[in-house]
Every structure is written in C-alpha cells, then in structure tokens.
Symmetry: C2
Subunit: 161 residues, 2 copies
DNA sequence: AATGAAATGAGAGCGCG
DNA sequence: CGCGCTCTCATTTCATT
C-alpha cells in the first residue's frame, strides 16, 4: 500500500506509462499496454511499483475553479524580514495549512515565497491577506498578481525528451 | 464522452464528491457513497454529469519531478513590451506549447505573465530562456525565482467553506 | 527477474422499480 | 434515488523466456 523506498530506476517503458497517466489516469491498462507494447499485468506491476516508490505521488481529479465558485486565481510573492530556519519553517507550515493556498514554493531571488491562491472574490482575497500577511510580523511585503487568463494549468512533468 | 454544457448547478453532495476526487480519484464509488451518504450509482451519475459539464476537467497522476530527472522548479515573471491582443495571444500560444512550462498565467500587475517551469538542470533552464525570452522580441524583461522547497503543490480547489 | 496467458474478483456501468 | 444485474477492467496465479 504505497509507502516505501525512494529513488528507483525507471526505463523507457515506465516513462511512457507515466506520460499517459499524467494526461489521463483512467486509461485502461490494456490500452496503455497496447500503446507501450506490454501486457496489461506488466503495466499494472510497473504502476504499482512507481506508486510504492512515490514516483506517482497521487491520482487526482482536476476541478475547474470557476465552476465551483472560486473564479479568482492570484499569484503572490512574499518577502520576509528574518530568514532564520525556525521562522521560515513556521511560515511554510502556516502557508501550507491554508486551503486557499493551492501552491507554495520557497524560492531564491527577490522574494522568499511565491504562491498560487484561489478565492471566490477579491474581498475574500483581501481578508486572506489581512490574516496571512498583515497579521504576520515576519512578512516584510508582498506583491499581488491577479490572473486574467489561465493560459496553461497542470502538474505534468516533461518526460524523456 | 464528456464534451458539453458549461455551468451546472452543484449541491453539497457534488462538492463533497469533488473534495474526495481531488484528493484521490481512485476511491471506489461505494466508499465515496458511504462518505457522503449516497448510493454508488448516485455517485456515479453525479461524477459523469460533472465530467460532461467539465467541472471535472481531467483525471491525472501526479508525478514527482525529482524522481524522473527533472529536479528543478522555477518561477518566472515575464514583462512584455507591447500588449496588443495579437502579440499577447501569440505569447500565450508559444508559452503554452513548451513542455517545460508546467503552468502559465496571464496576469495584471507589475508583470504580464507568470509561469512555473520544470527542468533537469540550470543549463537547460538557461537554454530555455535564450529560446523563449531572449529570442522573443516582445519580451522586455523577466525575473527568475528558483524553488528551494516545494512547500505545497497541487491543483486542489478550496470547496464549500 | 520480468513477462504473457488464463482465471479470479472487485468495481463501474445500466436498466429497473 | 436505490436496488440488482451485467460486463469491463484490475488483480492474482502460474508457466515460460
């Protein structure tokens, strides 16, 4: 039941399977097998192995935010005052715990965190900034970028070029 | 197979189902039914309806970039020179077509585009910038943020708060 | 050691009340 | 919407290379 060993060797079959699953993980194993020239059980074993090794981290449905009443996507860059390990870890934990924060990365460069936030209204975003940024003594400043168009959205990784 | 009508009404059952599927879409319909107090066929009908309405846009496997040889995630802000509709559309199409560009948003604010890029090496990123930014006459400047930690990654939408 | 073919079992899909 | 059926697909077994 998917828990163990980090880092396994992946061959061209595995990468081809991943490429299909990243696009549509409801593809029948028989169809995948035809596409990569393997039997269904072989495909199944490889998938299981990659799930156990956490190469496949999750299997998820992608939901359209606009159709569930969350039409606003916002990018935020956050700069902190103090970068001690404890304060950074605290910030990571806080940001990660917020449901509206869809993605959060700790980065180098002119900001310390960048995140993607999904909210129903700008009012909700404003309330969130009060809580998350103005209410945090270690946040020096933040810059907001409101998405007008989600040009490309996904988590697909470029494979085997 | 899943093509049609935009905007359908969603009730609390639908949102509860989506909340499960966004975390794990391999959850058996019977289990989902138990969780939301509905029969498995009812769950199935609702899922199909949401797929047809494109509320559920895709079902995908989430792959760990590091384990497939793409350990570097980078945020980029891009500012363009001219914002005519044609040039913006051209930029959207170009950025969206690049496999390394995992996400791209057209935004308001101090930048015009923000994107998430996944690459195997900084050398590969440098080559990509040459092609995508230095090689594009309409790109005024871009700022790079290299991710040191993927604090939170996903596409889950906050539902029914 | 990993594969493919055949058998088993669980789950999705559909019509019924 | 829930119940029960059918049928596809996932999963296991086993012989094979």
């Amino acid at each position: 039941m998917a828990q163990a060993s980090p880092s396994i060797a992946l061959d061209a079959f595995d990468l081809a399977i991943l490429n299909i699953l990243q696009r549509d993980n409801s593809t029948p194993q028989r169809v995948i097998g035809e596409a990569v020239n393997l039997s269904a059980p072989a495909v199944q074993r490889r998938i299981r192995r990659m799930e156990e090794a956490r190469v496949i981290q999750a299997n998820v449905a992608v939901v359209d935010p606009a159709q569930v009443g969350q039409p606003i996507t916002i990018f935020v860059e956050v700069e902190v005052i103090s970068e001690t390990a404890e304060l950074i870890d605290a910030a990571k934990r806080e940001f990660a715990s917020v449901p509206e924060v869809q993605q959060c990365y700790y980065v180098t460069g002119e900001a310390d965190f960048v995140m993607v936030i999904v909210v129903p209204t700008m009012t909700a975003y404003e309330a969130l900034t009060r809580r998350l940024f103005f209410g945090n003594n270690n946040v020096k400043r933040f810059r907001t970028f409101v998405a007008m168009d989600r040009v490309k959205v996904g988590l697909a990784v470029p494979l085997s070029d």
